[in-house]
């Protein structure tokens, strides 16, 4: 039996604590006007940034499941 400290706790910590840093970054760049969502190009980048967070979250979740059950 693999302990949860080797599976889901690191995952939650990574995307929880890492997610807080990410969220602060997204809030700062919006509030400061560094990213201007009125511009098409910036809207594209905003979506890419959010996509990247979930891309890595799904990646790690998928491989944790594959490692455990396949």
């Amino acid at each position: 039996m693999i302990p949860i400290t080797h599976t889901w706790i690191p995952l939650l910590y990574l995307y929880g604590v890492g997610g807080i840093f990410f969220l602060i970054g997204m809030i700062i760049i919006r509030k400061s006007g560094a990213i201007n969502l009125k511009l098409k190009r910036h809207r594209y980048w905003y979506r890419v940034l959010i996509f990247g967070y979930f891309y890595f979250l799904i990646f790690h979740t998928f491989f944790t499941l594959v490692g455990l059950y396949w």
Binding site: H6, P10, L14, F59, L68
Partner: protein
């Protein structure tokens, strides 16, 4: 092929003479390739930044060799062999800080035209902040170069015979001897090539490296196939993508998260001048964003496989053939051993050439970046201080280019000397982890707060550098007392206490000092105004300076217990804050405008020299025609300018139409007065020289802003 017992004890003659020949040929080809691109350097701007001209894909691929170079193959294969797929962790945790980088640091560093990180510190804070940042950054860069050289030496050592006989003389290759030879080879092409050479050699090496890494992976899979395959041979814990939360001390998730995911990611994106210079070599900020995002989303996951797979394959072979790869194989040797076991003569030489090339790429990038810091933060300020001026800009450029080349040589030598400080660490991974968690936090905190917090003051940054470092030293001396509360359950290894999680402690103390001094700025001003009201205020200030120096030295020398030294460190931070307020002239409006994320628009306007034109236009194809004289602009037809949605005075980027050149033949300029000949651009002789355009070749133009 020998058994591992032999490999462990005799580290010599792995591979055949064919392998050595292939490696030698590879090195010569790379040197010639790099030297060829030296012709594209016409100034220090080109030498260091490649002239801000390249397409995102070219930079994204050239970053691969830098990202996976240096210590990567050796150290990630080692951890892959010991712990499995979780060796990939550090390649997949960089996204969290990307918003800060793409829309904060990248536009600031490009639009402010700062040529080094310390220069930013001077603009944002003060010359004294620049001085401390230069010292910390040089230590960081030279240490990094040293680790790169050490790894190169360790990778090549097993390939050489125990004794080399040449011209009747016998030599016994030593680690330092090998490193010196490598340093000479590295120095040659960086010195004569510059950043453009580095970008193009890295581009070539990036492709070869990916190919070689995957070749090794597939050879390994083929080797294991008759025995049930890689997947079935690995234990379940080896198949998990993240390490155990807090054990063992030499490889745990939470320690590596703070050391690499936080300090390392910010260091990688914000502090690694080698990498930043690559992004600055892209033709625009948007292209830099594309290069960074593509690199993290796609290239780093691929790189994680490339650098770690030898360890995974080594573990699987150790399960089925422990006589060939015993489970107790030294982790730092597993890459060489597995490459030798799974590949045939010649292929092994090619794989090792790719590895050493990758190692060299990181080292040469760092040497180039360190030379840039030397020119910008030591050479130029000294010349300003001594009031030395060249007659023309061309003379200045020529002298600086020559100084840049000499400084590359000196930095290379210092890098070799710094190997002495690292060569006694048990593994490269630990040496690098310790180095990273110790040297990056003060700069990471200072850069980060400087960019994203307008209120962050020079007093706060100076206190972060000196008070923070003092608290870090106390933590390093008393880890059981000070770092343990941050360890989150990690057991302390007495020999190497808290190798990774110390980054968390270091980040917290540096941030705490910076934040506390910023919030108490008014209070420090009151104290300083009271001091200044005294007649002997200068004597008081100098006395406090001496006291701060003495206390800092007491902390550095460890003269006292944990509590006393901790208090001394806080006093150092307090005194530094007072002295900074006393000595530093700071304008909080002027010195934050365009230098924090809160005023990006201002810095864009100042970069352009006018209002920003955000209208979106198309690219146009044009033929170039030479015009008389040099007026600093290029001229398009009215219709072409309309297509590009450009106005007179806007910035334009024009390049050879052939996309595969990636912007090598290109220039930046300004739209001048339009004419009536559609499809024609008038350029000057100087533009032609800068862009290295070819007669008859069509150019592609686009508005930058």
């Amino acid at each position: 092929m020998g058994t591992i017992a032999q490999v462990q004890t005799t580290f010599h003659d792995i591979g055949s003479s064919i392998d050595i020949i292939i490696m030698a040929v590879y090195f010569i080809v790379i040197m010639l390739f790099g030297s060829y691109f030296g012709k594209y350097n016409r100034s220090t701007k080109d030498f260091f930044f490649g002239g801000r001209r390249f397409a995102w894909w070219l930079i994204a691929f050239s970053i691969v060799a830098t990202g996976v170079g240096s210590h990567s193959f050796i150290k990630y294969s080692a951890k892959g062999f010991q712990y499995g797929f979780s060796s990939t962790m550090t390649y997949l945790n960089d996204w969290f800080f990307l918003p800060f980088f793409l829309f904060g640091w990248l536009p600031i560093i490009v639009y402010t035209r700062v040529q080094s990180i310390p220069e930013y510190f001077e603009k944002r804070f003060s010359p004294s902040a620049r001085f401390l940042a230069t010292i910390l950054l040089l230590l960081y860069m030279i240490g990094y170069i040293g680790i790169g050289f050490l790894t190169l030496g360790k990778a090549i050592m097993p390939l050489l015979p125990e004794t080399i006989t040449t011209l009747g003389l016998q030599f016994q290759p030593t680690l330092m001897g090998i490193i010196i030879i490598i340093a000479v080879i590295t120095g040659i092409y960086i010195t004569f090539g510059g950043q453009t050479a580095v970008i193009f050699t890295d581009l070539l090496q990036g492709f070869i490296l990916l190919f070689a890494g995957f070749l090794l992976f597939f050879l390994g899979i083929a080797y294991l196939h008759p025995h049930g395959g890689l997947w079935s041979l690995l234990p379940t814990t080896f198949k998990l993508p993240l390490a155990d939360f807090n054990k063992p001390p030499d490889f745990n998730f939470v320690g590596i998260f703070w050391q690499d995911g936080v300090a390392g990611s910010v260091g990688f994106l914000f502090m690694n001048m080698g990498l930043i210079m690559r992004f600055m070599a892209t033709k625009s900020v948007d292209e830099g964003r594309k290069a960074a995002a593509f690199n993290i989303l796609f290239m780093l996951p691929l790189s994680a496989i490339v650098v770690g797979n030898a360890g995974w394959i080594g573990k699987a072979i150790s399960v089925i053939q422990p006589n060939i790869v015993p489970p107790n194989t030294s982790p730092d040797q597993i890459f060489d051993v597995v490459a030798h076991v799974v590949s045939s003569p010649g292929v092994f030489g090619f794989v090792m050439a790719a590895l050493t090339a990758a190692l060299m790429s990181t080292v040469d990038t760092l040497i180039n970046a360190t030379a840039a810091i030397y020119i910008n933060d030591i050479h130029r300020p000294i010349k300003r201080l001594l009031k030395i001026k060249e007659r023309t800009q061309k003379d200045t450029d020529k002298k600086e280019l020559s100084a840049a080349r000499y400084s590359s040589i000196i930095v290379t030598i210092l890098g070799v000397v710094s190997v002495l400080a690292f060569k006694n660490f048990p593994t490269v991974y630990e040496a690098h982890g310790y180095f990273h968690s110790t040297l990056t936090p003060p700069l990471v905190v200072a850069i980060f707060l400087g960019i994203f917090w307008k209120r962050f003051t020079p007093a706060a940054v100076m206190a972060t550098f000196l008070g923070g470092v003092a608290l870090m030293i106390v933590g390093a001396k008393f880890p059981g007392i000070l770092i343990r509360p941050f360890a989150q359950g990690i057991q302390m290894n007495a020999e190497h206490p808290y190798t990774y999680i110390r980054a968390f402690y270091n980040l917290v103390v540096c941030s705490a000092v910076g934040v506390a001094v910023t919030y108490t700025d008014g209070w420090f001003r009151q104290i300083v105004s009271k001091i200044k009201s005294k007649e002997n205020h200068k004597a008081i200030a100098y006395s406090l300076t001496i006291l701060a120096v003495v206390l800092f030295l007491m902390v550095a020398l460890g003269l006292g217990g944990a509590f006393i030294l901790f208090i001394y460190s806080l006093i150092v931070a307090f005194l530094v804050a007072i002295l900074s307020v006393y000595f530093i002239v700071y304008d909080p409006v002027l010195q934050t405008e365009g230098l924090t994320v809160w005023s990006i628009q201002k810095v864009k306007e100042s970069f352009k020299g006018g209002k920003i034109n955000e209208r979106e236009g198309d690219k146009v194809l044009v033929s170039w025609v030479l015009k008389e004289g040099e007026d600093g602009v290029i001229n398009f037809s009215k219709n072409d300018m309309e297509k590009m949605a450009a106005d007179q005075g806007d910035l334009v980027y024009i390049s050879d139409k052939r996309a595969w050149l990636g912007g090598l033949k290109s220039i930046h300029s300004v739209y001048g007065k339009p004419h009536d000949k559609d499809g024609v651009v008038y350029i000057s002789e100087e533009n032609l020289k800068d862009g290295v355009f070819i007669k008859g070749k069509i150019l592609k133009a686009e508005k930058e802003m």
